[in-house]
């Protein structure tokens, strides 16, 4: 039997589609889809191999319960009864807010909806969050303040037609390759590229301006651009006048921030900042692409606001071919946010503190819902260590390897009374669990993912769940055991979502068949929205908010003289549970390494490919050195995909005060030669 199942790629947030080539219940390959509007017949190397991990022998196939420190296989019924029993026990003993749910940006919208419903309606807590906390929560909090909506303003297909693309803290070629394809096309079409990155990433090779700023100096850089633009009278006065508020306050904050004045903070020649500012301001069609290089800072929210300020001052937003593209990291991190897998909002960003919204959900779900905001993922860890949080139900996330300062996360998880982890492979976090429930991969379920251009797209089932149940079904079974029935049919869940969410009330499976829909989709007839904020911003007037440079929580000193920054690479994806199990991907980069500038390396006597020790105040790792001129002197860079040499033992668990994102992108570190 041979079938081709069109589905959405499970890796980054771009949302490429492909066919799974299924022969006799084995998925043997990937076929690209030319008619899909996102990928248009193209895929990156991860997409081309997305079938490999699905039927890997390491997949978890049976529920596991820990007994005397060892996992024992048990039946589904036994495991589900046990989990439900323990959840109830803890809820009865310590109250609903002693429980928390971490949903998954890898799971479908429908599953995330069920999980947040489970937390709120069944457990009775708003303690629900997911990994967007550690990637783009700053986007949600920042762009929301500036524009009234924390998502991409425009669509991918506008990129090839841009006159100017400002890429800051983002490496589209490696992290979002099919968005990178559009940047490549824009370059081929003559677009001018501005790259601001401590590393000379690929688009920098073709860039008109390449700015190599220090990690953590982005606000200074952007404010200096705004300063120069206004000083040179290049700002869009009409746009500022008609579409925004707060210009005077903003000017007050940036008026002393000349390109010359930030030279020491940013490590960038003023002339380069001026050239970039000029280019961005005078281009007819200009956009900003950014990613975690901007968000993963203690000033993540302010970074995002600074970019929104820049865009509004130049009138490069709120129209076609001009806008801001936050490149979302995971396949459904946009969706998991949209669907309300967050402690403060229901689906479509309806606040839990808003009584009308709460009443609507209470009525639909037939229960009374908690009134207070829940804990963010970050604060759940603090509360666990404090002993206030007793139980954590984690779905498809490996906090120990992905959250900053792994040792601290381990301590938090060790403090819990009960930990349930739902996973497809045995992760380091799952190893800590009392119960491990085997989840289903993207190929084993129906549903939708929402990509970074706000597009809902279908996920379609190619094979039966390897462990027998989809993640949605598991949640519903536990809910049932706790006395609450939830519909688990994905299409019906989608309808329920739509009925409760004005932002995408027009979404349903049948409408997504062709090429999905971009929210807002206000009704069944609404065609979706490729560009938002067109006539006016969602919040009305765009708000120019003054933000000022603040150094990272940790700055280099004599003992730790380098700035360590981290990121993702082309061949691997996050903790590598899937890409490390894909032969060719793992072959390209089988082990962790640290990039160090050649002058720094020479000074320390470090040679290419030789072993070095990277140390921070939180931990140390031995990896091989990649000596290169592509990274700024004084800065070192590491990927975080290798669980045997996990970079996040080094990173800093200092957090943005607003969105609670961790500072992965800048901490103080030292590098030492290892004598073998």
């Amino acid at each position: 039997m041979m079938k081709r199942v069109l589905t959405t790629c499970p890796y980054c947030g771009v949302g490429c589609n492909f066919y799974l080539d299924v022969r006799d219940s084995r998925i043997v390959g990937i076929i690209p889809s030319k008619s899909n509007s996102v990928s248009q017949g193209r895929l990156c190397v991860k997409g081309w191999h997305a079938h490999e991990p699905i039927q890997h022998p390491d997949r978890l196939k049976k529920p596991l319960i820990k007994e005397n420190g060892k996992f024992k296989e048990v039946s589904w019924d036994f495991a589900l009864d046990y989990v439900a029993g323990r959840l109830k026990e803890i809820k009865d003993k310590y109250g609903p807010d002693s429980l928390a749910v971490c949903t998954s940006a890898r799971c479908t919208n429908e599953e995330n909806f069920l999980m947040m419903k489970f937390a709120r309606a069944v457990l009775g807590t708003n303690n629900v969050d997911h990994c967007a906390r550690t990637c783009h929560s700053a986007t949600v909090s920042g762009l929301n303040q500036s524009f009234g909506s924390g998502a991409s303003t425009n669509s991918y297909d506008e990129l090839p037609f841009m006159d100017c693309i400002l890429i800051i803290g983002s490496n589209p070629t490696e992290a979002h390759p099919i968005a990178g394809w559009r940047v490549r096309t824009a370059i081929d079409n003559g677009a001018k590229i501005i790259v601001c990155d401590p590393r000379k990433i690929l688009p920098a090779e073709d860039a008109s301006v390449f700015i190599q700023q220090f990690p953590g100096s982005d606000i200074a850089l952007i404010n200096a651009m705004i300063n120069y633009i206004v000083t040179e009278n290049l700002h869009d006065k009409e746009f500022i006048q008609q579409r925004t508020e707060g210009f005077n306050e903003l000017w007050e904050a940036v008026k002393d921030c000349s390109p010359e004045s930030v030279k020491d903070i940013t490590g960038v020649e003023p002339a380069l900042i001026k050239k970039a500012a000029q280019l961005y301001a005078v281009s007819k069609k200009a956009c900003i692409m950014y990613s975690l290089g901007m968000t993963e800072h203690t000033v993540g929210t302010d970074n995002v606001i600074a970019m929104a300020n820049l865009a509004m001052v130049c009138g490069q937003v709120g129209k076609e071919f001009s806008g801001i593209y936050p490149m979302r990291g995971q396949n459904n991190v946009q969706g998991a946010c949209d669907i309300g897998a967050l402690p403060n909002v229901y689906s479509g960003y309806q606040p839990v503190t808003d009584e009308t919204a709460r009443k609507k959900f209470e009525k639909a779900w037939g229960v009374s819902l908690p009134k207070e905001k829940g804990l963010t993922l970050t604060d759940m860890m603090y509360k666990a260590i404090e002993g206030k949080l007793k139980c954590f139900y984690i779905i498809g996330e490996d906090q120990i390897r992905t959250d900053p300062n792994s040792h601290w996360i381990e301590k938090a998880l060790d403090s819990l009374e009960f930990l349930v982890v739902q996973e497809i492979f045995m992760s380091d976090t799952a190893k800590k669990a009392d119960v491990v429930l085997p989840g289903a991969s993207f190929a084993e379920k129906e549903g939708t993912f929402t990509c970074a251009e706000r597009r809902f797209q279908r996920v379609r089932k190619a094979i039966e769940p390897i462990a027998g149940k989809t993640d949605g079904e598991i949640i519903c079974e536990i809910a049932k055991r706790l006395g609450y029935a939830m519909e688990d049919n994905p299409s019906k869940v989608c309808d329920e979502m739509a009925s409760l969410t004005p932002l995408f009330s027009g979404v349903s499976f049948d409408r997504l068949e062709d090429n999905g829909l971009q929210w807002p989709v206000h009704s069944k007839e609404h065609p979706g929205t490729p560009v938002v904020h067109l006539e006016k911003f969602i919040r009305g007037l765009g708000k120019l908010i003054p933000v000022k440079h603040k150094p990272p929580a940790e700055i280099p000193d004599g003992e730790y003289p380098f700035i360590l920054t981290t990121g993702r690479m082309l061949f691997h994806y996050n903790t590598g549970t899937m890409t490390r199990r894909t032969a060719n991907l793992n072959r390209e980069y089988p082990r962790n390494f640290v990039q160090i500038n050649s002058t720094d390396a020479q000074r320390l006597g470090i040679k290419n490919k030789l072993r070095v020790r990277v140390k921070t105040r939180r931990g140390e790792l031995e990896v091989s050195a990649e000596v290169t001129d592509k990274i700024k002197a004084g800065v070192i860079w590491m990927p975080f995909h290798f669980s045997e040499a996990p970079t996040n033992v080094l990173t800093n668990n200092a957090f943005d005060p607003v969105c609670r994102i961790g500072e992965y992108k800048a901490c103080a570190a030292r590098v030492e030669k290892v004598n073998s």
Partner: protein
């Protein structure tokens, strides 16, 4: 050889009969929207009798699948392997001439020479290929005529159909092809002179304004290293190692072998691999004869456009355009050829 004719109605009858005689009837069919993909239509009848464009994947995807189980590992400890054999009879319908030329080259590669590749040979020998020649360029990226592989197949097919106003012109290319005709004699008639005339017109229309690429000259230019280094630099910088080109190319044959064990048992797979990866030539100790990325793509182009031209007398780039369509770096082998020839 004498040419025959079949009406559209009779072609349907022929297909229905052929389907009874095979395990899989692989034909172009619509998948999502206007995606055309070769697939098994034996049961669902969704094959396109005639179509514009080409399938996203070529027949290679069936003969050398992206992943293929070679052996069942019965006992890892005792190194006990049992060969997984695929003896399914497949009939391929609607295969384009460019892909037929590719199959001919792949046959020579996998079956000719000192060693035979049994898994490939088995599948290839059990297959029948019915070509549908091209009356229209299948995509803006394709350049089959330029590479000498279209719009009609010259060899390598069992039957070749050319769509005409009143039905299909039929050519027989092999014994297997004549067996099909013999078995279904009643469905065919002799072609009329005007049919052949129509084919000539179609051919003229297709080739109008197009020029054949002198691939022997191209090979010489590459052999003598006359391609400007800046062209290779540019290509090296564009390639983001997606592997789409080597996965879709109908003449790419490289693979790797990988075991997957679950306890004491498991499978030995082979999977498509290719020269775009740095790891493709990297040895266990970490050293590699091709440290620069541009050299990986160079190897790909050299193989298709130089080495194979020397080996087979024809280039193994058949001009299907798939690698161009799928490239996120906007690399075009066609543009490369033009640059190489013009620049020398």
């Amino acid at each position: 050889m004498e040419k025959l004719f079949i009406t559209k109605e009779n072609l349907k009858v022929l297909i229905a009969s052929l389907k009874k005689d095979c395990a899989e009837f692989i034909a172009p069919r619509y998948e999502h929207l206007d995606d055309i993909v070769l697939g098994d239509t034996k049961a669902d009848g969704r094959e396109l009798l005639n179509y514009e464009g080409n399938s996203v994947i070529s027949p290679r995807a069936f003969l050398l699948p992206q992943t293929e189980e070679l052996f069942e590992i019965k006992s890892a400890k005792n190194s006990e392997f049992i060969a997984v054999e695929d003896k399914k009879k497949r009939i391929f319908y609607g295969v384009r001439p460019c892909d037929i030329k590719a199959l001919k080259l792949m046959e020579e590669f996998f079956i000719g020479g000192e060693f035979e590749d049994k898994p490939y040979k088995e599948k290839f020998r059990n297959s029948v290929f019915i070509t549908l020649s091209c009356i229209k360029k299948c995509s803006p990226e394709s350049f089959c005529f330029e590479m000498g592989s279209g719009p009609f197949a010259k060899e390598g097919f069992d039957l070749q159909l050319t769509p005409l106003n009143r039905g299909f012109l039929v050519e027989i290319g092999s014994k297997k092809g004549s067996q099909v005709i013999r078995k279904h004699k009643k469905l065919f008639s002799k072609a009329k002179p005007e049919d052949e005339k129509e084919v000539r017109t179609l051919s003229l229309n297709f080739t109008k304004g197009k020029k054949r690429i002198n691939y022997k000259r191209l090979a010489r230019i590459m052999r003598e290293n006359k391609v400007q280094e800046s062209i290779w630099d540019d290509i090296g910088q564009r390639c983001v190692v997606c592997s789409g080109c080597v996965t879709l190319c109908p003449t790419c044959s490289c693979f790797s072998i990988q075991d997957r064990l679950s306890g004491a048992q498991g499978s030995r797979f082979r999977y498509c691999d290719g020269c775009v990866y740095a790891g493709f030539t990297r040895m266990a100790g970490g050293s590699t004869p091709f440290p620069e990325h541009k050299d990986h793509i160079r190897r790909f182009f050299e193989h298709k456009l130089n080495i194979d031209t020397q080996r087979y007398g024809v280039s193994s780039c058949v001009g299907c355009g798939r690698c161009i369509q799928t490239c996120p770096g906007n690399i075009s082998i066609r543009k490369f050829i033009e640059q190489a020839v013009d620049g020398s």
